[in-house]
Structures are given as C-alpha cells and as structure tokens.
C-alpha cells in the first residue's frame, strides 16, 4: 500500500535544483521549481540511466546531465522528439515539509 510520507523540508532542496532520496528500489529525485512546487521522479533518465537529480532544472523540466534529454517534471515524459519516461511519484508541500506518496 502506498502512503504519504514526510521526506524533508522544502528548504533542503535548492530552488531550481534537486535533492536525492535513497530508496531500496532505486534513488528518487526531488525537484523544486522557481515557484516552490516539488516534483519527484525516479532518478534515472530513460535514455541511458543518467541521474536526473544532477541536471539543470528550468521551467517545469529537467535536463539530464549525461546527454541533455529534457524531461517534464510533471509527468516524467521526455520532451519531443525524444521518447521515454521516468517513473513519477506524487509529491506535495505542506507547511514547508515535502511529502511523497510511496
């Protein structure tokens, strides 16, 4: 059963940046947009497995550090013309705390 869990404080993630959450099934990347929304994706680019958490965050996208694929934070889908998807995890912020449904 999945459930919402408190992960960290919003301030633990740099604005337009990311933080990594270790997870037995593979790391999860937590992204923070310029307007303080948080998104979570499996920290693995569908292209060649690059750690998305290390990419540059812009708008609602992240650019993979290895080969420059752009992925939508909201869905995990690669931006056209690339095709692929990183698993997405529901995330929200409540009272300065980041919650994830795991």
């Amino acid at each position: 059963m999945s459930q919402w869990k408190a992960i960290c404080r919003l301030d633990d993630i740099p604005r337009l940046g990311a933080q990594v959450l270790t997870h037995p099934e593979g790391d999860i990347a937590l992204f923070r947009t310029a307007d303080d929304r948080v998104f979570a994706l499996r920290d693995k680019c569908p292209h060649k497995g690059g750690p998305l958490s290390q990419g540059i965050v812009h708008g609602e996208q992240v650019t993979c550090p290895l080969h420059g694929w752009n992925l939508a934070l909201e869905t995990g889908e690669a931006c056209a013309p690339d095709v692929g998807c990183a698993k997405k995890f529901p995330a929200r912020v409540e009272g300065g705390v980041v919650l994830l449904e795991l």
């Binding site: 992960i7 990594v20 997870h23 937590l30 310029a34 497995g49 290390q54 708008g59």
Partner: protein, 819 residues
Amino acid sequence: MAKQKLVLIGNGMAGVRTLEELLKLAPEQYDITVFGAEPHGNYNRILLSPVLAGEMQIQDIILNDLDWYAENGITLHVGKRVTQIDRIGRKVTADDGTRAEYDRLLIATGSRPFILPVPGKDLPGVIGYRDIADTQTMIATAASKKHAVVIGAGLLGLEAANGLILRGMDVTVVHLGEWIMERQLDKTAADMLQASLEGKGMKFRLAHQTTELLPGPDGRVGAVRFENGEEIPADLVVMAAGIRPDTALAEAAGLHCNRGIVVSDTLQTITDPRIYAVGECAAHRGVAYGLVAPLFEQAKVCANHLAQIGIARYQGSITSTKLKVTGIDVFSAGDFMGGAGTEAILLHDRCGGVYKKLVIKDDKLVGAVMYGDTVDGSWYFQLLREGKDLGELRDHLMFGQSYASSHLGDTGHAGASSAASLPDSAQVCGCNGVCKGTIVKAIQEKGLFTLDEVKKHTKAASSCGSCSGLVEQILASTLGGAYQAVDTTKKPVCGCTDHNHGEVRQAIKEQKLLSIPQVMQALAWKTPNGCATCRPALNYYLLSTWPHEAQDDPQSRFINERAHANIQKDGTYSVVPRMWGGLTTPAELRAIADVAEKYRVPTVKITGGQRIDLLGVKKEDLPKMWEDLNAAGMVSGHAYGKSIRTVKTCVGAEHCRFGTQRSMDLGVKLEKMLFAMGSPHKVKLAVSGCPRNCAEAGIKDVGVIGVDSGYEIYVAGNGGIKTEVAHFLCKARNDAEVMEISGAFLQLYREEGWYLERTVHYVSRVGLDYVKARVVDDLENRKALHERLLYALQGEPDPWAEIAQGPRRKEFIPITLAA
C-alpha cells in the same frame, strides 16, 4: 480578455511558416483563420518539379496536412479565394461569401505566373507553372499529347521542360534572352548547361519572341508563332517567363503596392499597421523575393511582431539558386556577373564539364556561379553571407572547402565537402552513430529545414558538433533551394531568446545587469527561467563582466561545476587534485594513495594534463575526500570546469640538457596566477623549455616555448575535436612578460568570447590581427586587461574547501528515510 483574431490570406509556404513561428512564440494569442484558394493544405511548392519529373508524389510534398490545422485550432477555408478586404470594418470576404473578422491580417497571396499578353493566351492548353493543378495538367497532357513549348528559360521553365521530357514529350524552350537562366548564370555556365540539357533532348529557341499562340483543330492551343513568322507545333504551352506578385486584392483594398505589397522591416504594410505581408507578394526595400529561404526569414520576423515581442527586423536576404534537374549541378549566388570594381577567379574545364567563377570585391566574396561541380556551393554562400575578409583564404578559395581547410585549418566547421557523393550508409556523426541515409530520411519525412532541427530529430551533430559542417551540407543537398545556411555569428543563444551571444554580453555590460533574472527581464526572455543552454551562459557572462559584484548561481551551472567533480556515465564522479605545473611531492602522492584506499576508489589514472584522476567516487564521499586532500595541502584541479585546467610543462632548464628556459618554474607561476579562472570554455596551457616542445605547447590555448633569447607565445591551439595548431602571437623577453601577455590574452577571451567557444573559435571569429592589436601592440591595453584579470581572480577560494566547510555540503548527502 478575448483572444485577438488573426486572418491569413494565402495558405502557402510563407504564410503557414509564419503561423508556425507564431505558434511557437505565442500559441494562445490568436484565433487564427486561414483562407487558401487551392483545395489543399500547405505543401512544398519547390518540390513540384520532382513531382512533375516523377521522382516524388503529391503526398510526399505536403508540409501541413489538414490534421495540423485542426490540432492547432486553426479555422481553415480551402478552395476559397478572398475577394475583398474591408479595412474599416476589419473583415475579409471570400468568393463564396465566407467572412472573417480580423484584428490583424496577414497577406501571403504569393505570386502569379506572368502570362505573355499575346493573342491566344487564353486558349485551353496554355498554363503557368505554379501549383499542384498546373502540375497535374502537365502530367495529364503529357500522357496523350506530343509537343510542348515552354516559354522562358529560367529556373522554373527549365525544370518544367525537364519534367515534360521525362514524361515523354517533345519539348522546345523559347527564350527572349540570349542565353538561358540569364538572371542566375553568366553566358559560359549557361552554354554548358544548355549543351547538357540538349543532350537530354531539350530543344532551344533563344532570342526568340513569341507573338501569337494559334489554336489547333480541336480548339486547344496548336502552335506557337514567333516574331520572324516561324511556327512550331504546341499541344501544351507552359508560361514560365517570370512571376508577378499577386497584389490585386491588396491594391483593391488601397494598400500601397509597387512591384509587391510594400512592407517595412517589420513586414507591416506601410499603409495599414494592422496588415502584414510576407512571401512572394511582399516588396521589401524594393525587392520581392521569389525563393523560399528569404520567405522563411521574413516569417520569423513577422511572427515575432505578431506575437508582440517586437524586437526582430528583416533587413533583406542574399539569395542563392540551385537548379533541381537530376544529374545536372548548377549553383549561383550574389553578384555573379561582376563588373566595375570586382575581380573574378575562373576555372573552366570544358571537357570535364566544370565551370566555376568567383567574384571578389574588396577582398570579400560577393558572387559565385558554378556548373558541373557545386559541392562547395553552400560554403561559398556562407562566405558570401558572412562577408568575411578572405585574406589568405583567397589563394585556396577556388579549390573548395576541403582543400582550403586542409591547408588553412578548419574553423570549427569540420565538414568535408563530400556530402552529395557520400553513400547513404556512410556514418556522418561518429558520436551518436548516425548515417547519412538516416539524416536524409528525417529531412524529407519530417520536413526539417535547419541544422538545429536535424540535431534534435536525429542527434547527428548534437554531441561534439564536429560533423555540423557535413550535416549542413547534407541539408543543403537534400533541400536544394529551400536550404538557408544559418549565419552562426547571428544565431540566438537558444530557443529562449532571439538575442545572440554578442547582444547578450553587450546588454549585460552596458545596462550593468547583475543577475540572471535581471538579464531575462531586460532582454524579454521567452521562458520563465531559461534552459540548460542559456542559464550557464548567462551565469558566466555575469561573473566575467562583473567580478565581485554579480553573484554566482550554482543552479545555473552544469553539474560538473556545481559538484566540482566530473560526472561519469554511471553517475559517480572523478576527483582530480591540482598539481601545479604537473609537479608533485612524495607527501602529496601518499595523501592521494591514502584517499584512494580509504574511499575505495576503483580507478586511479594519470591524466593528459599531468595529474592524477581518481575515478568512480560516490557524490556523498566528495566533501570528505576533499577535506583529506585539503589537509595534505592540495586543492581543486578544476578538471571539471569551463575554466583553467592545467599548465603542462616539460622539465626544462632545471634538469634537461637541452633546456633553454626554466619551464617548470614558469608553468607553476602561470598556473598560480590563473587559479580558479572561469572562462567561456576550458583553457589549457603548456610551457616547454626549448623548441623540442615536449610539453606540446603547439596545441594549447596558450602555449609558451622557451628559446635562448626568451619565449615565444602561441595562442588558440586545440588538441580536441579538430586538432588545430596554435598561432604565433609574439615573443616575450622574460617570465613577467609572458605572464602579462598570456593573462591579457585570456582576459580578452574571457571578456569577449561566447560561452562554449574555445580560444580557437574565438580567435578565428575576431581575427588574429585584432588579438595582436589589443594584446601585443597596445601596451596600455595589455596592462589594463592583465590588471582586470588579476582583479577578477583576487581572493578566489578553493571551491573544495569552501563546500566541505560550508552550507552547500548538505547538497552532496542524499536523504534517507528512517526505516
């Protein structure tokens, strides 16, 4: 607020391209309605010739099918000709009574074939050559009739004649001029072309004026009569004697027309600012363009204004021509006839069927015409557009790009001029394994027009970029006349802006912009916070322009610079401690060995820059390793940055029996002076103690070679993607002078280079003479540059110590959930 209404009259390439550009910029701004007189979606008119020749089908040349209009919410009226524009009521009316209101109106009615005003011009079987219907008429006529006459031996006429011959007709081309394609070719090239077309069975009547078209017994056209009274049989007459901008509608609406609808640099009609015109119907600075490349430029500018961004200007185009007759290569561009004040370089091999003429004025290429061998057409066209001084290139110019670049070094466009002759299976992009066939297929099937589009769709040229030149040539040979070489010096930084690197740098300096949001606001960035391409560039420009004032933004740096280590394919990092001048000590080596064991570093490697690389380190271990290395007196080697990397040295006069100068000593001093220097791209130096040059100074950004009397300084070498030998800059008498000159050169590069431009590209852009003038000849300026460099680098901390001891350390540690 309700959406504004945009109406487009003319569903062709220029108009729809404008809509595409507009939708990219402002997808929600307008309710768009399109009127097209033809019963089709937008198709590639240039490719009608291959369709006529039987090499392509109609469906192959459709650019926007009806679904495209639906998907973009565009109301499309096909087969409806707009007959009236009511400028006061702001609405248009079509021939079937359909009406549409507009807030802004875009006219892209294109052109009509010029129909000679001779008796018989309205007979059945007399057509222009303009659209799908004309092409279908020609194909149908060719199936049952024998004699065709094409009036006009321009590009279009010859392509029509060629197609009709391939369809089995007996074709005579009638031309008023003394040689064919006189607007694109000089007489020599035209004669060669004519001979070759005659070999295909085409007949010519040059200097012939048509006076009448005579009906045959069936009431269709039957013969053509010339001024001299002669008659020839004709079951089909194709009028290809030129085009005229289709301005009837605009004129009726009271818009000022003079050889086209007169528009300003913003593509607005000069009569009514709500009305825009693009494409063949528009006259810009007295010119109505009939080729596709300028139309695309106009489309971009027009869209920018429709989207109310309002910063782009269209300033006219230089055009090039390529004839699409399979097996015959003709190319011309610019002022190919020459004349007063010009010189021409000629190559004419009549037997070999090759003719090339290059017209030069004031040491610049201003025109080119080629027959038989046109592989260098796009290269010449690029030289022509950029208006570069030819200098020493002139001696090799005629022999083409591959010869010239093998003799003069390539300036980053490492593309052999062989695109057309490559087999489809040939690998073009070595980084991503992309073959020519894949690129050609993507260009044709996806309708790609630019290098960037090819990069995105195929990945070719998207990694190291060394095949960009070749990919551009494949684009050029696949698209023919539709290809528009991008002038890289004016290319926008990225899709987030229309400004190029130079403009951005200038704005940051002149308006004293100090942060990325300030830049984005001042220059009307199109995205809220940029992208992975522009943010690192802006961050660099701010820091290099306003040292100690602009704040670094780690989130706008590529991960390597943010983590101060190099990311590897498995997500681990590599750590390279600095070894000044490639020198180390037993104590340092011991500390490195300890760190490698303590953190179980799987790979330890000696780098090309004379230091040691510890590979396979977990990110969370980085700060701990740095602390241990710091404790042993070592600092970051910046092996990961767009910054100073290493100063490679040979042992020099300290030990070497041949050494003339103390190269290790100078190398260490240079490396200490430049510590932590950020730059547009990486910077590598080398110091050799004698001309044997064991430190390989000839392929460095700055290479110093000791000679008996002092030093020789070389700049802008490159050992990377395309090996480039450094240019001799000047001599220096002593260490202090080397340091001042090297520092001044690097500061000039830091202040003027574009992000990700290596010194080799920077120097090739601005010219070595410019660099010499600023750094060698102008002593005061040299000193000032050097001082600005020293000021900028003042107090630069070791980034490893800063992070290990500072608040950013937590970014390196992942979050773990309590079980």
